[in-house]
C-alpha cells in the first residue's frame, strides 16, 4: 500500500511525463502548421496563377454508378483554411475553417493553444469529431459580431450566414453548416489530387534534387520528365487517388488525364517542347497541368 507521499510522487512523475509528451506534440504540431502554411502558399500561387484549374474532370467509370460531375473547388478561395491538417470531419467543411484575419485578430499563439486544447477532446468515432469549429472559436475568443463579419471577410467566398452562427440555435447552426457537404466533397477531391503531385514529388525527391530551389510544386508533366515517373507508376498513383475518394464518398471518380499524351516517344523532349521562355514558373506549372488534364492543346 502506497503512502500519500508515494502516491503524490507517482502522480507527479506521471504528470511530468505527460507534460513532456504534450510539449513535444505541440512542437510537432507547430511544425505541421508551418508546413501546411507553406503548402497553402504554394496552392495559392499555383492555382491562383492559373485563374481556373479544373484539375478534375471526371466521368463515370462504372455503368452501375450514376454519373457525377465534380467541379474542382479552389482551396485558395476558401479562406485561410487551417483545420488541423487532414479534415477529419465527414459532414462539415467551412465549420472548421478559420480566416487568417481572424487568427491574426486573436493572435497566432493563442489560436494554436486553443486548437491544441480542443483537439484533445476529439472523438474520432463521431461524424464530426473536430471541436475546432468556428462556433467554438467565436465563443472561446468572445469575438464580437461586427468584428467577425469584417475580419471573417464574409462578403466573399465564405457564404454561410453569420447571423445563424451568432443568433441561431445549435440545431440551426448544425443544419446550416451541413449544407456545405458538397463543398467539402469538392475540396477533399481537389486536396487528394494535389496530394498526388506532392506524393510523387516526395517519391522522386532524389531525382529532383537539382531543382530544390523550386518554390512551387512540380506539375505532373514536369514530374514525368524530371522525375522519370513511368506510365504504370503514374496510373497507379492516380488510381490510389480514386480509391481514396471512393472510400470517402462511395463514388467513383476517374480523371480525364491525357496520360498517353504524356508518354510519346522521346518523352525527355516533352517539357522543352511545351516550355515557353517568357512565362513564369507558376504559369508554366498551371499550364502544363491543364495540358495534362487535356484542357488545352
Amino acid at each position: 500500500m502506497r503512502s500519500f507521499e508515494e502516491w503524490t510522487s507517482d502522480m507527479e512523475k506521471k504528470v511530468e511525463t505527460k507534460i513532456k509528451e504534450k510539449r513535444k506534440e505541440r512542437n510537432n504540431m507547430k511544425n505541421k502548421y508551418m508546413k501546411l502554411g507553406a503548402v497553402a502558399a504554394c496552392l495559392v500561387l499555383v492555382i491562383g496563377a492559373a485563374a481556373v484549374i479544373p484539375y478534375v474532370a471526371n466521368r463515370n467509370e462504372s455503368a452501375n454508378l450514376p454519373e457525377t460531375t465534380v467541379a474542382a473547388t479552389d482551396p485558395a478561395q476558401t479562406g485561410d483554411a487551417v483545420g488541423g491538417g487532414e479534415l477529419k470531419c465527414k459532414v462539415h467543411y467551412l465549420y472548421h475553417n478559420f480566416a487568417g484575419s481572424l487568427i491574426d485578430y486573436v493572435g497566432q499563439d493563442k489560436f494554436d493553444e486553443w486548437l491544441e486544447s480542443v483537439s484533445e477532446t476529439e472523438d474520432l468515432s463521431e461524424d464530426c469529431p473536430c471541436n475546432a469549429n468556428i462556433k467554438n472559436f467565436i465563443d472561446y475568443f468572445d469575438i464580437p459580431y461586427e468584428v467577425f463579419v469584417v475580419k471573417g471577410n464574409l462578403t466573399g467566398h465564405l457564404e454561410y450566414d453569420p447571423e445563424i452562427l451568432y443568433f441561431g440555435t445549435e440545431e440551426e447552426i448544425e443544419a446550416h453548416f451541413r449544407d456545405f457537404e458538397k463543398f467539402a466533397k469538392d475540396y477533399i477531391i481537389t486536396e487528394h489530387l494535389l496530394k498526388l503531385g506532392f506524393n510523387l514529388e516526395e517519391k522522386y525527391a532524389d531525382k529532383l534534387t537539382e531543382y530544390a530551389d523550386r518554390t512551387v510544386r512540380f506539375s505532373i508533366p514536369e514530374l514525368v520528365v524530371y522525375g522519370g515517373i513511368t506510365k504504370d507508376e503514374l496510373i497507379k498513383a492516380i488510381d490510389e487517388v480514386s480509391e481514396n475518394i471512393y472510400e470517402k464518398f462511395g463514388e467513383v471518380y476517374t480523371f480525364d488525364y491525357d496520360i498517353d499524351g504524356l508518354y510519346p516517344d522521346g518523352v525527355a523532349t516533352l517539357y522543352d517542347a511545351y516550355a515557353k521562355d517568357d512565362e513564369s514558373v507558376y504559369d508554366r506549372v498551371s499550364r502544363l497541368d491543364a495540358l495534362f488534364c487535356g484542357l488545352i492543346e
Binding site: 500500500m1 500519500f4 503524490t8 502522480m11 506521471k14 504528470v15 505527460k18 504534450k22 486544447s117 472523438d123
Partner: protein, 188 residues
C-alpha cells in the same frame, strides 16, 4: 477533508517557474480529483491517468484558466470532461478480473482515507457509490468538496436551478439508501 482552495496562487507560482508548485497542486487536489473521476470510470488506474491528464492540461496551458471560477472548480470541470470523453470512447463492456476488483477497492479506500478523515463521512461516501452517476457527482461535490451550487453547475454543465433539483432528488435517493442500510438519516 480538503477545504482549502489556494490553487490559483500555486498556479501563479508554477507559471513563474516554481517547480514545487506542481507537486503542491497535486497534493492539494490529486486524491480528490482521482476519487471524483474514479466514480465515473470505475477503474483506479484509468482515474489516475485522467487525473494526470487534468494536471497536465493546466500545466501546459495555464492561460486557459481564466479565473472565471476557482482553480478547484476549473480542475474538476476538466476532470469531468476527461472522464466523459473516456466513457464515450469506451462503448464496449469490459470484463474486470476479480483481482482487479480487489485492487480497486483497496486503492479507493486508501484515497478515501486521505481525502475524508471522518469515519462517518467515509461511510457516507461508500453509500454514495450506490447512487446513479448524476446523484453521486452532485452529492460528492456538495458535501465532500464543499462546492457551491454555482460551482457544481459549472462542472456538471447545468444551471443552478437544475443543480438544486438534482441535489434534492439525490438527497432523497441517499436517504432511501441509508435507511435501507439501517442508518438514521439526518438532514444533510
Amino acid at each position: 477533508m480538503i477545504r482549502s482552495d489556494r490553487g490559483g496562487e500555486l498556479l501563479e507560482r508554477f507559471k513563474n517557474g516554481d517547480s514545487d508548485a506542481l507537486r503542491e497542486l497535486i497534493e492539494l487536489y490529486g486524491a480528490s480529483l482521482t476519487l471524483f473521476i474514479q466514480r465515473y470510470v470505475n477503474n483506479m488506474s484509468i482515474a489516475e491517468e485522467l487525473t494526470a491528464d487534468t494536471f497536465c492540461e493546466i500545466a501546459v496551458n495555464p492561460s486557459k484558466y481564466r479565473r472565471e471560477a476557482s482553480l478547484k472548480t476549473y480542475l474538476f470541470t476538466v476532470a469531468k470532461n476527461k472522464a466523459a470523453d473516456y466513457l464515450k470512447k469506451q462503448r464496449k463492456y469490459k470484463y474486470v478480473p476479480i483481482e482487479d476488483v480487489a485492487y480497486e477497492l483497496c486503492e479507493t479506500r486508501q484515497l478515501e482515507e486521505w481525502v475524508v478523515k471522518d469515519e462517518q463521512q467515509r461511510e457516507l461516501m461508500t453509500v454514495l457509490n450506490e447512487l446513479t452517476e448524476d446523484y453521486r457527482s452532485v452529492l460528492y461535490l456538495l458535501y465532500f468538496e464543499e462546492l457551491s451550487y454555482e460551482q457544481i453547475g459549472r462542472i456538471l454543465k447545468k444551471n443552478v436551478k437544475q443543480i438544486k433539483n438534482l441535489a434534492y432528488r439525490a438527497r432523497l435517493a441517499l436517504k432511501g439508501e441509508l435507511e435501507r442500510r439501517g442508518f438514521v438519516y439526518e438532514e444533510l
